[in-house]
Amino acid sequence: MTADLKNEVEVWLTEHWDPEAECELGKGEYDEKSWLKKVVDAGYAVPTWPEKWFGRGLSPKDARVIENAFQKHKAKGWGRDRFHLGAITIYKLGSDALKSELLYDLLTGPICCLLYSEPGAGSDLAGVRTRAVRDGDDFIINGQKVWTSNAVEAEYGMLLTRTDIDVPKHQGITFFIFPMKQEGVEVRPINQITGEDEFNEVFISDARVPARFIIGELNKGWFSFQTAIASERLIMGQGITSRLRGAAGKTPALLKLAHDHDKLNDPVLRQEIAQALAYRQLNTLNMLRAKEEVAKNGSSSLASLGKLAMSRIQHGEARISAKIIGPQVLINETEDSRNANFDAAKAYMNSIGGGTDQIQKNIIAERVLSLPKSTDVSRDIPFKDVKSS
């Protein structure tokens, strides 16, 4: 079965994909829509899903055979049943009618953006204030979202809205799949402290979304949202492990930097460098243990420590890089200085993004160590009475 499948995919890729030019054979340049349609039609984009929904009904293990062949040929469009959050959420929670209407479009288009956080709803996402008000067959949306990546290219967004302010916050939320390409949606890039602008603000004024685009049920969006965020955490975890694998075997960057700046004889710096490298290696060893535990018992509480551990690693390495470079780090004229200053700012991406370290510590304390949950004073009162800054 596996060998046949591998052979079939290899033949298909050879007939359709040009690995040199990294585009469809004979096209000369990459045409995303056209290529993705071919991949989806062949059943290779979401192989673990049933045929009715563009898949092949394969096991995750067999699906990897397809993914591996695609990666070998440098072909795009694989693994959308693992990485296309919007499509995954509609597949899991959408009605058959909604799937029929949207799934093909989603799978053959860019990934959806996530319209979750707001200026007043960061760690406390259930406090979203973006309003959705019924108007005939549509809802009219007004509000502001932040920290949205891919907002410019996305055709659809996953939108968390407030539909009832007279009930406690978790009970008045509705989750939509929201068309981005319409008047009333304005995307502004956020200038970040790293000099990058990968995130955006999205201003929504009197934009419309059909009522049939609700994911799950009206006012029960918090439950649908949990499914979406679980898929997202799974993706983040996969990203972390594969990055670590990529780093193995190379001379650690910090060691190379210290060598280049002739600081390996400084006994104080040696201690700090060694400890920083140790934190990184210890996290790798913890994640290896997590993998072994998952293989043996099906789960591991160790996996939840990785993100928190990574904050200490990244902030620490950036701080020590600056010490190695010395006062020259003030002058952004060398690559080493630029990297050190960039990394120092970028470390906040890990310690704030995807849930701050402090929220992560609450989660670890409550879910792994089973300590009592903190009280949320806004949890059981009508949303309209919740105080905001």
Binding site: H259, A278, Q281, L282, L288
Partner: protein
């Protein structure tokens, strides 16, 4: 490599855990440390009967032929109860050094005595620096067919209870190891008053004392024995760290103030979450180091050094914060937290300091292929 399966390893650990639960409660430990010897000899005999004292000794000499992986796992169990017997000296370091010696007949008899529990061996491994990676301060001179030892060894564990010593000496830039019975003329033990009452430390003075050379045992063999010793200690510390952490989490769930368990307060939750990383890092580093040593992996030294300072530092950090998290109750001598915290301080210095091993870890990284 070991012939033990994972199930075998878990089985001997379970056996050891039951024995300690039965014979080495906190109450018993507090009794034992008040006795002149500070050691429960009956418990040592029971460990011998279970094969544990001969864990690293081959079956034909009365042992059970385990590897450092079994030792590490057993030490995690030992650490949880703050077990204080001469296991690392007698059952880890001594068998490694003796097995490397080429005067086979002599060492075989000794190994059998260790496995049977008949002999306890203490190791004189360092001078005033406390650092086993630096030159010992005992010297050996050959006089005809005899070897005469002079100088002092410091921070020697279990000296009073030992039947004999293995002594590391500096020999023209190399290390040589000698066997010397406790009652040998010229050997004098000075017992010290230690802050950690669970582990006794002595200075052992040699004044023209006569020793028996372990032939073929030099710097390389001594280094290898030291690496196994620090990984065994790391395992002990990882086990102790987890135990004091678990006790602390239990307290956070059961101690009420302001009408609620104190574990609901975020200041304490955040400390607990941070400590969990240190607890797990200790276990991971000790276990991976043991596995690497057992399979003679090329990065085994690096992982052993990593485990040494990680487990030592994390045990100290977690046991110190355990006292803080408990509050007043752990400031009383009746509460066990200070026993862990004091043992943690000892472990920070045994075989060499954390700073020393952090530096050696970096040196290994610099020369890694």
């Amino acid at each position: 490599m070991t012939d033990f399966s994972e199930e075998d390893r878990e089985a001997i650990c379970d056996m050891f855990r039951r024995l300690l639960a039965d014979q080495a409660s906190e109450e018993k430990l507090r009794e034992i440390i008040e006795t002149p010897s500070g050691l429960d000899k009956a418990l040592w005999q029971q460990m011998a009967e279970l094969g544990l004292t001969g864990i690293m000794i081959p079956a034909e000499l009365g042992g059970i032929g385990g590897s450092i992986e079994e030792v590490e796992a057993l030490m995690e169990v030992a650490g949880a109860s703050l077990y204080n017997g001469p296991f690392i000296s007698t059952s880890v370091i001594a068998p490694i050094l003796l097995s490397a010696a080429t005067n086979t007949e002599f060492v075989s008899a000794l190994l059998e005595d260790i496995a049977s529990g008949e002999k306890i061996i203490a190791i004189a491994g360092c001078g005033r620096s406390g650092d086993w990676t630096k030159s010992p301060e005992v010297s050996a001179k050959q006089n005809g067919s005899e070897w005469i030892l002079s100088g002092s060894a410091c921070f020697v564990q279990h000296a009073r209870n030992a039947d004999a010593f293995l002594v590391a000496t500096a020999q023209e830039g190399n290390v040589a190891v000698f066997y010397i019975p406790k009652n040998a003329p010229g050997l004098d033990i000075v017992e010290h008053d230690t802050d950690d009452k669970t582990l006794r430390l002595s200075t052992v003075d040699f004044d023209k004392a006569q020793g028996i050379l372990l032939e073929g045992v030099g710097e390389e063999q001594f280094k290898s024995a030291t690496q196994s010793a620090i990984v065994a200690l790391a395992g002990e510390q990882a086990g102790a760290t987890r135990q004091i952490f678990d006790l602390t989490i239990e307290y956070l769930n059961t101690r009420f103030q302001f009408g609620q368990p104190i574990g609901r307060f975020q200041a304490l939750k955040h400390m607990a979450a941070d400590l969990l990383i240190e607890v797990e890092s200790a276990s991971s580093s000790a276990r991976h180091a043991a596995r690497a040593l057992a399979s003679k992996a090329p990065n085994a030294s690096m992982l052993a050094y990593l485990a040494k300072f990680t487990c030592a530092d994390n045990f100290r950090k977690v046991s110190a914060d355990a006292i803080q998290l408990h509050g007043g109750i752990a400031y009383t001598v009746e509460h066990p937290a200070h026993l862990y915290w004091r043992r943690a301080q000892t472990g920070q210095w045994l075989f060499g300091s954390s700073d020393r091993f952090r530096d050696l870890y970096l040196s290994e990284m610099e020369t890694a292929p």
